[in-house]
């Protein structure tokens, strides 16, 4: 384990260092963020208030400047109007004063004196002299032309109507001053027949060109600007000349922020406000606006600037603050990593050491950590654990070596044990008088079950099944002794079953220090007569399956097992087997097999199984029972050895040549085909069929069955295929019944037997052979079954 790996284990994902650092970091980040945003909010409020104060100050200042310049413009016509209302007004002098004022005042641009019809003198319907400034000279103009028609002009009409001085809206005075102007008109009256009657107006014009300089000088921030609107909302001044005399609401509606309309409406009502709206010309530029009415005139002064300029200083400040914050955060992470690493380092070392120990390197030293904290306690605990572990593993190693030795010996024992039991089938292919099949499966490596069979002489056939009490090696050894002495004593004692059993019992009782015993069923079958002499020494009752299909237990006598009582008497019985009868023997591993629900397989179930399969050969019966038991006890451990032995007796009279029936069964696996072929061959031999025809039968059956097995089933289940053979001396009929999917082999197309080798088709030859080797070949479908019948003529 190198250094790199060590460092990665210290700072790996999910490691303490990383986790603590992350926790700390998140907490700091959380707190800092709250502080940061609170400060930002707070500062923005201050800036806002400051901006409002500034705007308010500038507004007030500008308004007072406007008032200052406007006041003389109002005062002069006001004074002159009073003069005009005197008994005998000196028109000429009055106009001179007005003219002088226009000349002197920087703002005043022109002045007019307009009379009601015939009010100046009886000759003049209209009378209106006008003086205005043009290139530093005063020019006089008479406005009393019908074309100009001053009666209809606002500057005349409105004060006449209201009877009070009025500031006009900005307007371009065509035919008058010919410039953009606002006019202050003061009405004057005359006493006529004791009634105060409107006599005319005296006006003072101001040029907006001059006026705008005052307004434009009022600015805030970089791009802020101010403007003046009349009370009806027309721009009196605006930085862009083209908007002067246009409507502010129209501009806002057209280009600006539509939400600002309400604010502007409030502005026109004469309120004083500080609001955020979009820029009048650009809706997407949020701006602040401050406005206030200008006294006397009814005008409104407004100051606006983009909001971002208000905060521009703030933003750069906060950028710096964020940088400082990030750097301190980084520093904190590094410090926290260093600190946590200092604490976790002993743990990491311990992890490395423990991992090595875990890989079996017990020479690794647990790092010593001198402290009183929990880590030191953990380290000490690991040291102790390591020592204990070494002791334990050494112990275990020795035990394992011993156990392995025993196990390998047990395996040898099992091989020897299995070698003692005949397990090659068919066991006596040349003996037609009976068929035998056996099965044994020990629960542990070696078991106490046994079966055995052998010929004593040419006619007498000895068979036995037994079960030694207990399992494992002692039982297996006892079983080995039992089979050995059984074979030996049978040879010595000859034909007498009770003598054999007696001798065996003597031997097993005498040499039985470990108090084992064996249940045993021993029988000797006379293959010529079907007679069986037997003794049942405490073993499960075998079953007799009669050729008629009835099943019964062979329960007439029961002696005590061998190896218990040297003096026990053994009662011998006799039984007669008829052609086709089967004797079925088993050990309690079958009847006492348990399933998951802890239910017993039971003798009842064996009886039923045998009843349902009574017509089958020993091989089939044994396999059915074993499969059924294994299915029944699926999911549980095999609790006891399982042994089964079945013998079907035919007798000498079997080899008749006519009128024979036989049924065979095969489950759907091609691996079962060789056994089937052997059985068919044996059957045909029994029926004395010549070998040429046996090959034909085998060929036809193989072709049909392998076809069904390979293509007929869509599932993984086991399926039985039934074969019924009938032999009448001239021909063999075979009926094949399966539950595969429907397939009619008779209706298949003829195989290719003519093309050149290159073009010759490879498939379809099997059915072709069947068609050509059989006398008859028919197919029918019945419910879910395919039934094929074939007849092969005997040669």
């Amino acid at each position: 384990m190198n250094k790199d790996k060590k460092s990665t284990t210290e700072f790996r994902r999910g490691g303490l260092t990383l986790r603590y650092s992350l926790f700390l970091l998140s907490a700091i980040l959380f707190i800092f963020s709250i502080a940061f945003f609170y400060t930002l909010e707070f500062t923005m409020n201050i800036l806002d208030n400051d901006a409002m104060q500034r705007a308010s100050n500038i507004t007030d200042l500008t308004i007072s400047r406007i008032t200052n310049v406007i006041r003389p413009v109002e005062q002069v016509p006001n004074a002159l109007a009073l003069a005009l209302e005197s008994e005998r007004p000196d028109y000429k002098n009055i106009m001179e004063i007005a003219k002088d004022f226009v000349r002197e005042d920087s703002l005043a641009f022109g002045t007019a004196l307009a009379f009601e019809p015939y009010m100046h003198d009886a000759k003049h319907y209209r009378y209106c002299p006008y003086f205005f400034e043009s290139r530093d000279r005063i020019i006089q103009k008479d406005l009393a032309s019908p074309e100009y028609d001053y009666f209809s002009r606002d500057w005349y009409r409105i004060p006449k109507m209201l009877g009070t001085p009025v500031w006009s809206e900005p307007y371009y005075d065509k035919g008058g001053g010919d410039t953009l102007m606002c006019t202050y008109s003061v009405p004057f009256f005359r006493e006529i027949k004791g009634k105060r009657t409107f006599a005319g107006v005296i006006t003072m014009d101001i040029s907006l060109k001059t006026f705008k300089h005052i307004i434009n000088s009022a600015k805030v921030y970089q791009t802020g600007f101010s403007f003046l609107v009349s009370h009806s909302g027309k721009f009196i001044t605006y930085p862009h000349e083209e908007y002067v005399n246009t409507d502010i609401l129209e501009l806002i509606r057209k280009n600006g922020d539509p939400l600002a309309v309400k604010t502007i409406e409030r502005m026109l009502k004469g309120e004083r406000l500080f609001e955020e709206i979009g820029n009048p010309e650009q809706k997407h530029l949020p701006s602040r606006i401050y406005f206030a009415p200008v006294p006397m005139t009814g005008w409104i002064f407004a100051l606006t600037f983009p909001t971002k300029e208000l905060y521009s200083g703030l933003y750069s400040f906060f950028k710096k603050l964020a940088l400082i914050f990030s750097l301190s955060l980084l520093a904190m992470i590094i410090i926290s990593i260093l600190i946590t690493r200092k604490f976790t380092k002993p743990i990491s070392r311990l992890v490395v050491a423990t991992r090595r120990i875990g890989q079996g390197d017990f020479d690794t030293n647990i790092p010593v950590y001198r402290s009183r904290d929990e880590i030191a306690q953990l380290t000490n605990a690991f040291s102790v654990m390591k020592e204990k572990l070494i002791l334990y593993i050494n112990d275990l190693r020795e035990t394992t070596i011993k156990k392995e030795k025993i196990e390998s010996e047990l395996k040898v024992a099992r091989d020897i044990q299995m070698g003692m039991i005949p397990r090659t089938f068919p066991a006596f292919p040349d003996r037609k008088e009976f068929d035998i099949y056996g099965f044994i499966e020990p629960a542990k490596e070696v078991g106490g079950d046994l079966y055995d069979f052998f010929f004593i002489d040419d006619e007498r056939f000895c068979f036995a099944i037994g079960d030694v009490a207990g399992k494992g090696t002692p039982a297996a050894l006892f079983m080995a002794i039992t089979t050995t002495i059984m074979r030996a004593e049978t040879q010595i004692a000859g034909l007498n079953v009770s003598k054999v059993i007696e001798l065996m019992n003597n031997y097993l009782c005498k040499n039985n220090d470990s108090n084992l015993f064996v249940t045993l069923f021993l029988g000797i079958l006379n293959t010529s007569t079907g007679e069986v002499e037997y003794i049942n020494a405490g073993h499960n009752y075998p079953f007799i399956i009669k050729n008629s299909g009835t099943v019964r237990e062979l329960d007439n006598t029961h002696c005590i097992p061998l190896g218990i009582d040297i003096n026990s008497s053994m009662i011998q019985n006799t039984l007669k087997l008829d052609h086709g009868d089967t004797i079925f023997l088993y050990t309690d591993g079958i009847s006492e097999a348990f399933n998951i629900e802890n239910e017993e397989y039971s003798i009842k179930r064996i009886t039923e199984m045998l009843g349902n399969n009574s017509n089958l050969a020993p091989y089939e019966i044994v396999n059915r029972i074993v499969d059924d038991v294994s299915e029944f006890s699926h999911g549980t451990e095999q609790s006891d050895d399982i042994s089964v032995l079945a013998i079907q007796y035919f007798g000498k009279q079997l080899s008749k040549e006519t009128g024979q029936n036989h049924q065979m069964l095969i489950t759907n696996s091609v691996e079962n085909l060789p056994v089937l072929a052997e059985k068919i061959t044996q059957l045909c031999n029994d029926w004395n069929i010549p070998s040429g025809s046996i090959n034909k039968v085998n060929l036809v059956v193989e072709e049909l069955i392998s076809n069904t097995i390979s293509y007929g089933y869509n599932d993984d289940m086991k399926h039985d295929i039934i074969l019924n053979f009938q032999f009448d001396g001239k021909s063999i009929s075979i009926e094949i019944i399966d539950d595969a999917k429907e397939f009619n082999p008779v209706a298949t197309e003829n195989a290719d037997t003519n093309s050149e080798i290159g073009e010759r088709k490879i498939g379809g030859m099997g059915i072709h052979l069947v068609k050509n080797l059989t006398e008859a070949f028919t197919y029918q479908r019945e419910d879910t079954k395919n039934i094929i019948k074939i007849i092969i003529r005997y040669q």
Binding site: L699, A751, D752, N754, M765, G766, H768
Partner: protein, 113 residues
């Protein structure tokens, strides 16, 4: 099944014994195919000790015959028992594969090719 081979001057002689059926065909193909590919000689299969052949076995023989035909190598069978002979007759294989009564005849005729 047991398969033995023998290299004669004229051909590679293969002696299968027992049954050539559904179960044993796989083994037959696995053993015989590499032998034939390695040798480059003509091939004679001696059926003298073959008891039985089914369509699965026929299939193998046909595949071998096709392959050797493609490589322009001679291929023949000899010593067929009566049942196998009948199977070859029924299947029409006797028209595309040369069949001789004895090994000697088979070898001499393969040499002629």
């Amino acid at each position: 099944m047991k398969i033995t081979t023998e290299k004669a001057a004229e051909a590679l002689v293969i002696h299968p014994e027992g049954r050539l059926d559904t179960m044993t065909t796989g083994q037959f193909e696995n053993e015989v195919t590499p032998l034939i590919q390695q040798s480059g000689q003509n091939v004679l299969i001696d059926f003298g000790k073959l008891d039985y052949i089914s369509s699965a076995g026929l299939r193998s023989i046909l595949i071998l015959a096709k392959e050797l035909k493609k490589k322009e190598r001679g291929f023949a069978l000899c010593c067929l028992n009566e049942t196998i002979k009948e199977v070859f007759r029924i299947s029409g294989f006797d028209t595309i594969i040369s069949i001789y009564p004895t090994i000697e005849e088979g070898l001499s005729l393969l040499k002629g090719n």
